[in-house]
């Protein structure tokens, strides 16, 4: 449809305001990380880079970062296997209960995190004898499966099976077909799913609170513990700013790998 000039200007204005709504808080985080004040005061009375140095040297921040990365990598690897298997099962077969299964996969991200959190906490402490780093990883895998699955099944539906048939007709074994035909076509979808799964795991706070063993501190847990401690406000500000900057990386990678997708939002 041809929008009138007024409609276009109005829409652009709304988009501009929405953009400000989205970006002003992130900008405030970045500016606050250089604030010379020890509390969340606006406007900052002065600027310093002192807290950046202190945050980078902070032992608690460093070890929390490594815990988060390790948990994220293991959970992503497990979710990749489970999610991709599920995508092939649901994308290539028609069977009784298929709709129910597709509903079950989205359940862990559709239900509130606190429900998943206390449900797993209850079972882990009652039957597994307590919480460890592995109960935390199990918790994360549960909701990471769906993002891997979503990306994989979208690709499976779109690529069809004619190329694989051609490969089989030409005499390739199943393994060979998978390695030379299926996997290369799936690769970018799998990478996108992996980035999303890692991002979800890295960021998760609620399920983490309820499934992490005592003393296991991921980065979100560290921030949460220090959020209300006035003395640590400047360090929390810097860690927050770092996370805002880091969050640009997955976007960049995802845009690169999904550039062959016709829809730009391939990572959703």
């Amino acid at each position: 449809m041809t929008l009138s000039r007024t409609a276009k200007i109005l829409l652009s204005l709304v988009a501009l305001l929405a953009g400000a709504f989205i970006y002003v808080p992130l900008g405030v985080i970045l500016i606050n990380s250089f604030s010379a004040d020890r509390s969340l005061t606006w406007p900052p009375s002065g600027f310093t880079t002192e807290w950046w140095g202190k945050a980078i040297d902070n032992e608690g921040v460093r070890s929390a970062l490594w815990t988060s990365v390790w948990v994220g990598l293991v959970a992503t690897a497990m979710a990749l296997v489970l999610g991709t298997l599920l995508a092939f099962a649901l994308g290539r077969y028609r069977f009784f209960g298929r709709e129910t299964v597709s509903l079950l996969v989205v359940l862990p991200i559709s239900l509130p995190g606190i429900v998943t959190g206390i449900a797993l906490n209850n079972v882990f402490t009652s039957f597994l004898g307590g919480l460890t780093i592995w109960t935390l990883i199990i918790g994360h895998v549960t909701f990471c499966i769906v993002v891997v699955y979503n990306n994989a099944i979208a690709r499976i539906r779109r690529m069809g099976s004619s190329l694989e048939e051609a490969s089989a007709d030409l005499g390739a074994s199943s393994v060979r077909t998978f390695a030379l035909v299926t996997f290369p076509m799936m690769r970018s979808a799998i990478i996108a799913g992996a980035i999303l799964a890692f991002g979800l795991s890295f960021d998760e706070i609620i399920v983490t609170t309820f499934t992490a063993g005592p003393g296991i501190t991921t980065l979100p847990i560290w921030i949460y513990q220090n959020l209300f401690r006035p003395n640590n406000a400047p360090i929390v500000n810097v860690v927050a700013a770092m996370l805002v900057i880091i969050s640009i990386i997955p976007i960049y990678v995802a845009q690169r790998v999904s550039s062959d997708d016709e829809r730009g939002a391939g990572v959703m």
Partner: protein, 291 residues
């Protein structure tokens, strides 16, 4: 081959023993999702019908509806339920009011060259840490020295401070991209020819929007609302950080689950039932394929 299975597509997979292949593919993820996840949920809901011995603090494993009766008759709790529902609805509405025009701008006003950049700009905050974003709003909303209070003070106005409004704003901010992206995807999938046809038949922009665009993006809006609604229902951290004294359902669960797990389980059942009813209601709209 059984009647439950149409012939599998031929190819690398599922071509000699389709049922075995299917079983092999399905078993590991289903073991995980059914045994670990559904099993835990089932155990939790079973616990909701048990109780705690007031003196010993031990679980009493006899069936009782007391927890649910308490939740729905004690005004302290049903007010929280209604407040949480209100917050979730307001958040969904806010996301829609801001997200729909923004998505429309991205899909239909911006030139195709700008679209990937705009999508990236909307996606970037989605990747920024949840806690960082809530923390940002703590700085924004702070009653005395917050950014909003500072911005409004020349007008003689104060900021909203921490509380109900603060929670609604923060949650809307958090879940906004979940609303924008499905709508944007739905709008870009819509063929230009349909809009032209509508215009050729004499419809004004408003009419085309109501009769053509809205019905087509409706499933996308519903898909987005699943996130904005259910994520808001279960949140408790936002209320802790920017809610002041205002509590939500999640806060009740979080504060009671150590001392009284059956009661916490009963409270946790409420958002689950609401979300399941919602998912069930929208299943036919095709929204789930848009997730």
């Amino acid at each position: 081959m059984t009647t439950t299975m149409t012939p599998a597509p031929r190819g690398g997979f599922g071509y000699r023993h389709p049922r075995m292949r299917l079983a092999g593919l399905l078993t590991p993820p289903m073991l995980w999702l059914v045994v670990i996840y559904l099993g835990s949920l089932a155990a939790l809901f079973l616990t909701a019908f048990w109780s705690i011995n007031d003196f010993t603090g031990q679980l009493v494993r006899t069936f009782t509806l007391d927890n649910f009766i308490e939740v729905f008759t004690n005004s302290a709790y049903y007010v929280v339920i209604l407040r949480t529902l209100g917050i979730a609805l307001l958040v969904t509405l806010t996301c829609l009011v801001i997200g729909l025009p923004l998505a429309f701008f991205m899909a239909r006003v911006a030139t195709p060259r700008w679209r990937p950049l705009l999508v990236a700009l909307v996606l970037t905050p989605l990747w920024a840490s949840y806690l960082v974003k809530v923390y940002a709003w703590r700085a924004m909303l702070q009653p005395e020295d917050g950014v909003i209070a500072w911005f409004l003070s020349p007008l003689g106005l104060g900021g909203p401070g921490y509380g109900f409004l603060g929670i609604v704003i923060t949650l809307s901010y958090l879940w906004m991209p979940y609303m924008i992206l499905p709508i944007y995807a739905g709008l870009t999938r819509m063929p230009e020819s349909i809009l032209d046809a509508s215009a050729d038949l004499g419809a004004q922009n408003g009419r085309t929007f109501r009769s053509v665009v809205m019905p087509m993006v409706f499933p996308s809006i519903v898909a987005g609302s699943i996130f904005t609604f259910s994520l808001s229902l279960g949140d408790y951290i936002t209320a802790q950080i920017v809610g002041g004294k205002v509590t939500m359902l999640g806060n009740v669960v979080q504060t009671t689950y150590v001392t009284n797990l059956p009661f916490a389980a009963a409270v946790a059942t409420i958002p689950v039932i609401i979300v399941l009813l919602y998912l069930f209601a929208v299943r036919r709209s095709g929204a789930l394929d848009n997730l």
